[in-house]
């Protein structure tokens, strides 16, 4: 009989974002305009915990735990109305403004207290949570709790079995899934998908309303890291994501679309290459021609202020900082007018004194591989690391742990690494989060690079938070932008500015590391661009040792299943059918023709999608559903066939690079939200399109 501590979080309901939730002037999201709900994956985690309890036969206790403002009690009542036996609310002003580290830490301390106070000290329990929350979207907290408690972490679980003695979990890994069991309990389980969230009963709901919640504050749990103080990252700025502008061009000849598809893929390629580029041309302040040049500030406002200040200083003919006397300051202030005042000026002048970078050391990439092959995301990160290291005038390192990692050395050097740090041990043959995080973090501790980048893959998103937490370093998840900038007024230059989407992509945030020896980030695969491999490139391979024994393994791997025939809506091209397909036969026939034609001609991944209506009509299984209530996608090309473009669908495909629509209704809303459209029936247009694609000269 196991017990379950379920972590639940109250989040803004991002599925209900309407136009009124945004400030019409600034375009920023107004958080208070959104309803608060339980994080969907946490609701699934609760159901999964209940399912485990049922599988096991003998019922243990289910305790739900949340940290948040007093109103977060609602998600505890949600749990109590369904299956929880008890509920703990961790609430305290001192806990507010926390990043993942300062969230995981108090939660871990609260878990210790729950075990002692509610579970009678039993160590037979699982900590179950959703893999990530829709607002933070980092997936860091559960892994960091596992690290704090020093227990195994099984992330991205999609299925659970019980063999009479222990639980087996199917979890998502790169390119497939894997059945594993925890070598010990307690353990942290994060749920990526459990299809059947529980319904409340009337009696349960009434009981939940009468239940007296257990409420703890910081004094009760005595956590180490709390609130803003205990956080290892800080948010520099929040801004709306760049709006997409659609071309809305009508195409009358279906055959032209074939050429457009080819062009789009080409352009997309070029755009990626440009994104990889040479960075922002950052130069460390010490190396700039003008000692008053501060044109690489992290925020627009600071850049502008410095620009004005530098301009005034130049006009006054001042050549060195020592020349700025109180008189001069008065003059500057009178010229600056409304732009900045005395205190700001003092800060900025003080900022000129900082010329040395805030961090030292190399820029590292943590290498992901499956024993045979390096994950493509690693090469992308090395490309980015080269760019960052160039700005900082330092080297690129790649840290690789494994059974025989040296073999990867030259490939990593060809991709742009200067030094490869190889950690070799037979127990690193297969990926075990506990052993890997030990191997990599010990190597980091030995050399202290100033930046460590991880791929935001299922492996990287688990390993990075564990390592960052272990080394007490800040970590930003799923970055889409990484740049070296200054924060002169805060006395820091040459720091890593990490930009990532949040709140379901509705806002962007730029984040900096603080109180850390190294700056760590994960970056989404496909965002950064790899460099052309240079086989002649020279570098150094340094071998490192790590002491590992049986207790450093956390998981038993039972079976690994490679994905075959899995739906991959992350593909380069998604072709969706809607109600306009008329029937299941039509959907099947037309889509498979088009998909095969495209796949034959272009070297891209391609998947079939569907609108909700098409799924409702039984044209295709729900797993293909694209849109707000299905899967939100961001392919290079989205082709919508016979889809009118309900707003829910459009929101779900808004991040596509190019949208091509075919519809027989000239007033179909999708025509206003696409790049190219053909007004015609799918039965007429698709065959022409297939023919035209087949006629394109194959690209190599």
């Amino acid at each position: 009989m196991s017990n379950y501590i379920v972590l639940v979080k109250q989040v803004p309901d991002v599925s209900q974002i309407t136009d009124n939730a945004f400030n019409p002037e600034t375009g920023t999201l107004i958080r208070t305009r959104l309803a608060s709900v339980i994080n969907e994956l946490d609701a699934q985690a609760l159901a999964a915990a209940n399912y485990m309890n049922q599988l096991c036969g003998e019922r243990g206790k289910i305790v739900s735990l949340t940290m948040g403002p007093p109103m977060a009690a609602e998600v505890l009542r949600y749990s109590l109305a369904r299956c929880a036996d008890s509920a703990v609310l961790l609430t305290d002003r001192a806990l507010g403004g926390a990043d993942t580290c300062a969230t995981a830490n108090p939660l871990a301390f609260a878990i210790r207290k729950i075990v002692k106070d509610i579970l009678g000290g039993s160590s037979d329990y699982f900590i179950v949570s959703g893999m990530q929350s829709v607002d933070g979207d980092t997936a860091q907290v559960p892994a960091q709790i596992a690290e704090e408690l020093d227990v195994p972490c099984i992330a991205y679980v999609t299925d659970i079995k019980y063999d009479g003695e222990r639980f087996e979990f199917s979890r998502i890994i790169s390119g497939g899934n894997q059945w594993v069991a925890s070598r010990s309990v307690p353990a942290v389980i994060t749920v990526a998908k459990y299809e059947y969230p529980l319904f409340a009963t009337f009696a349960g709901e009434r009981g939940a309303n009468r239940f007296e919640l257990i409420q703890w504050g910081t004094d009760d749990i005595k956590a180490e890291y709390t609130g803003i103080e205990g956080s290892k990252t800080r948010v520099i700025r929040v801004f709306p994501p760049p709006g997409t502008t659609r071309k809305c061009k009508e195409i009358t000849d279906a055959r032209k679309i074939a050429g457009i598809i080819a062009d789009c893929l080409d352009e997309s390629q070029k755009k990626d290459e440009k994104a990889a580029g040479d960075g922002n041309g950052y130069v460390l302040p010490g190396a700039r021609e003008n000692i008053f040049d501060r044109s690489f500030e992290g925020t627009h406002k600071e850049s502008e202020d410095y620009k004005i200040l530098t301009g005034i200083i130049e006009k006054l003919g001042i050549k060195s900082l020592a020349d700025i006397t109180d008189d001069v300051k008065e003059k500057i202030l009178s010229k600056a007018g409304e732009h900045f005042h005395k205190n700001a000026l003092e800060d900025m002048l003080e900022g000129f004194k900082t010329t040395e970078p805030a961090y030292n050391g190399e820029v590292w990439v943590a290498v992901e591989h499956d024993g045979n092959k390096i994950h493509p995301a690693t090469f992308e990160l090395i490309g980015k690391a080269r760019d960052l290291a160039g700005s900082l005038k330092t080297k690129v390192g790649a840290v690789v742990a494994g059974g025989k990692p040296e073999g990867f050395g030259q490939e990593l050097i060809s991709a742009g690494a200067d030094t490869v740090y190889a950690v070799e041990h037979p127990m690193l043959e297969t990926f075990d989060p506990k052993a890997y995080r030990k191997a990599i973090s010990e190597t980091i501790e030995k050399y202290w690079p100033q930046i460590v980048l991880f791929a935001a893959t299922s492996m990287g998103r688990m390993l990075a938070p564990m390592i960052a937490y272990r080394l007490r370093c800040g970590l930003t998840a799923d970055c889409t932008g990484l740049e070296i900038k200054d924060s002169s007024r805060k006395g820091q230059v040459g720091i890593l500015m990490q930009t990532r989407p949040a709140l379901g992509g509705n806002v962007m945030a730029t984040i900096c590391t603080k109180d850390s020896k190294s700056q760590m980030a994960t970056a989404r695969p496909g965002v950064m661009k790899r460099l052309e491999p240079d086989k002649k490139r020279k570098g150094e391979i340094i071998k490192n040792k790590v002491q590992l024994n049986q207790t450093d393994l956390s998981l038993d791997i039972i079976k690994t299943e490679k994905a075959t025939g899995k739906i991959n809506l992350d593909s380069d091209i998604v072709v969706s059918g809607g109600k306009g397909m008329q029937s299941r036969d039509n959907y099947e026939k037309l889509l498979s023709k088009l998909v095969t034609a495209i796949a034959d001609k272009f070297d891209v991944s391609i998947e079939r999608g569907a609108s909700r209506a098409a799924v409702e009509q039984g044209f295709v299984e729900r797993i293909h559903q694209v849109g707000q209530t299905g899967t939100s996608i961001s392919p290079k090309i989205y082709i919508a066939l016979g889809i009118s473009g309900a707003i829910q669908h459009l929101i779900g495909v808004a991040n596509s690079e190019t949208i091509i629509a075919v519809n027989s209704d000239p007033a179909a809303p999708i025509f206003k939200h696409c790049d190219y459209y053909i007004n015609g029936t799918v039965e007429d247009v698709v065959p022409e399109l297939v023919e035209a694609i087949a006629g394109i000269n194959k690209k190599d």
Binding site: T18, D19, Y196, F199, Q582, A646, I647
Partner: protein, 555 residues
């Protein structure tokens, strides 16, 4: 507390709208120890309450004064009663471009104490019923009333022997589209109660079932209207021009123009909702005869009318919704033929569910609240005597003035339906002296005629439902049923060209491979127009899993 105890309550109120909550608040105030449960199918308070209503504030005083005499000072009350009507326009729209005021005739009527003098609203408040409900719900909860959202009731349970209602059955949750049990299947519980108050709103599922089962009789057919509306964010200049505190009611174009038609009952409304936000609504009697008509067509035309357009042009629609209004009036109230009581045994019927809408004022909110007050008082006064409760309730409806008002407006809607607005309106001054014209049920009035002002562009119903934030779990049995598919495919299609596809404000119905289907039940706004307007009475609306449906906030 045991499971059994948790499934039992002394008083069960179905529907946490203004009527149900007023009943709960009144009873709890009189009997603090009373065990009262209010259930509602919406996910949150106010989500299923739509009306940009004009409220006579007296009923709130009656309801709240004894609980907290300073209720008007509370922040929420101030927010709900933000706009007092300061400017009251009654217009006749002659066409797309011309309008004239008929306010003077109302003023004269008021002076001579004629019935339709009631169409004057100065001194009333403009309220969002959704916000009002949210506030009343919080008040109720603070008093210790259990208001539980997300639970839908599908039936009333009766004692097999004496036929007395013993409770309600909740909807099963966790069935898939075909009705198979999913792993998270949760059978709908039975909630037992001594007293059941039906406050479901217009065309309530349990209410209608109860009326039939208990043999309650409506002397005249219940008639309905459907209201569709949008909240539009306008510019500072437009809002200033409109002026806060102004209410515009408009008759005529685009639903009624003299001689050549169209001839429909209803009108358009413009009101402020909050800073820079204006409600634009269109209410149309369900007895329209144009098979290609959609209420949103009328809304589109209304919005494009010259007078209206200047206030909203270029604005952004931020919320939308649709709802039915019961308009049959006094003679359509469901009564026990033996006692004239509105209810029977231990079951009372409140608010829009009973049909307490005063058609002269086109307002039912104050009466809904008053019916709640009456129910609360009646239960408190007739403890343990259900039979007496119904009579007491019906008597208190008189005392509180609900019945007098209903009687004054008793024949208005029927008179206009029979004689048309041109003759019907003026003649209605004779009030109760007129004969009660027999008017057919709305759905029987349908022809193959076409709506004269059909806009060129079809209304974007997908965006409309998105702005109503409606959502249902998609993998559940359809809560809309077509009784006989052949009727749709043959008779209806031939005669009327499948009008449900056009008139459903949420676009739930579609023609797929030659069959009319409720193709998008998850878009449903719970307005039930389909059930009352299908020309062959071939559609039934039942309640989906609790928590589904629109999520109105201000509309």
């Amino acid at each position: 507390m045991s499971q059994n105890e948790l499934n039992k309550t002394s008083v069960l109120i179905v529907g946490a709208g203004p009527a149900g909550l007023a009943a709960a608040i009144t009873l709890k105030n009189k009997q603090p120890e009373a065990e009262i449960c209010v259930i509602d199918k919406a996910a949150e308070a106010g989500n299923h309450n739509l009306s940009g209503a004009i409220l006579e504030p007296d009923c709130l005083s009656t309801l709240l004064d004894t609980i907290n005499k300073d209720w008007k000072e509370s922040e929420q009350a101030q927010d709900v009663l933000a706009y007092k009507v300061t400017k009251d326009n009654l217009l006749f729209l002659a066409s797309k471009n011309f309008h004239f005021s008929i306010a003077f005739s109302i003023k004269i009527a008021k002076k001579f104490n004629l019935n339709f003098g009631q169409m004057s609203y100065e001194g009333n408040y403009i309220v969002s019923i959704s916000k009002l409900t949210k506030w009343l719900c919080q008040t109720a909860k603070e008093m210790g009333i259990e208001v539980i959202h997300g639970f839908a009731a599908e039936d009333i349970i009766y004692d097999a022997e004496n036929g007395v209602a013993t409770g309600v059955k909740l909807v099963d949750q966790g069935l898939d589209k075909e009705g198979n049990k999913q792993p998270n299947y949760t059978e709908g519980e039975i909630i037992n109660a001594d007293m059941i108050i039906l406050a479901e709103g217009c065309d309530g599922l349990l209410t209608e079932k109860f009326i039939e089962k208990a043999g309650l009789v409506r002397q005249a057919n219940q008639l309905y209207s459907v209201g569709v509306k949008e909240v539009i964010r306008v510019s500072d200049a437009q809002f200033k021009k409109f002026t806060a505190g102004r209410v515009v009611h408009a008759m005529g174009y685009p639903i009624w123009t003299p001689v050549l038609g169209p001839g429909m009952f209803g009108g358009g409304v413009l009101m402020p909702v909050s800073e820079n936000h204006i409600w634009v609504g269109m209410i149309v009697g369900l007895d329209w005869k144009y098979c290609d008509f959609s209420p949103q067509d009328a809304l589109t035309n209304f919005k494009n009318q010259r007078f209206v357009r200047k206030f909203i042009e270029g604005g952004t629609i931020v919320e939308a919704g649709a709802k039915m209004i019961p308009e049959g009036g006094y003679y359509a109230l469901p009564r026990n033929p033996a006692t004239s009581g509105i209810g029977k045994g231990n079951v009372l019927i409140l608010g829009d569910g009973a049909g307490f809408v005063n058609m002269l004022k086109i307002k039912g909110l104050h009466n809904a609240i008053k019916s709640g007050i009456a129910a609360g008082r009646a239960i408190a006064e007739c403890e343990n005597n259900p039979a007496a409760t119904v009579s007491k309730y019906t008597e208190l409806l008189n005392t509180l003035g609900v019945m007098r008002e209903m009687k004054d407006a008793a024949k208005f809607r029927q008179t206009v339906a029979k004689l048309g607005p041109l003759i019907g309106m003026p003649i209605s001054v004779f009030g109760d002296k007129l004969p009660l014209f027999k008017v057919e049920k709305d759905y029987l009035v349908m022809t193959s005629k076409k709506y004269k002002y059909k806009p060129g562009k079809s209304y974007d119903k997908d965006t409309f439902t998105a702005l109503a934030a409606t959502e249902h779990r998609e993998e559940q049995p359809s809560h809309l049923t077509i009784i006989n598919r052949n009727t749709c495919a043959q008779e209806c299609r031939e005669k009327y060209d499948s009008p449900c596809i056009t008139f459903c404000p949420a676009g739930v119905y579609e023609m797929i491979a030659g069959q009319v289907k409720p193709a998008n039940p998850s878009n449903c706004l719970h307005c039930k127009t389909c059930q009352r307007k299908c020309p062959l009475d071939n559609i039934r609306w039942t309640v989906p899993e609790g928590g589904g449906g629109p999520r109105y906030k201000t509309v």
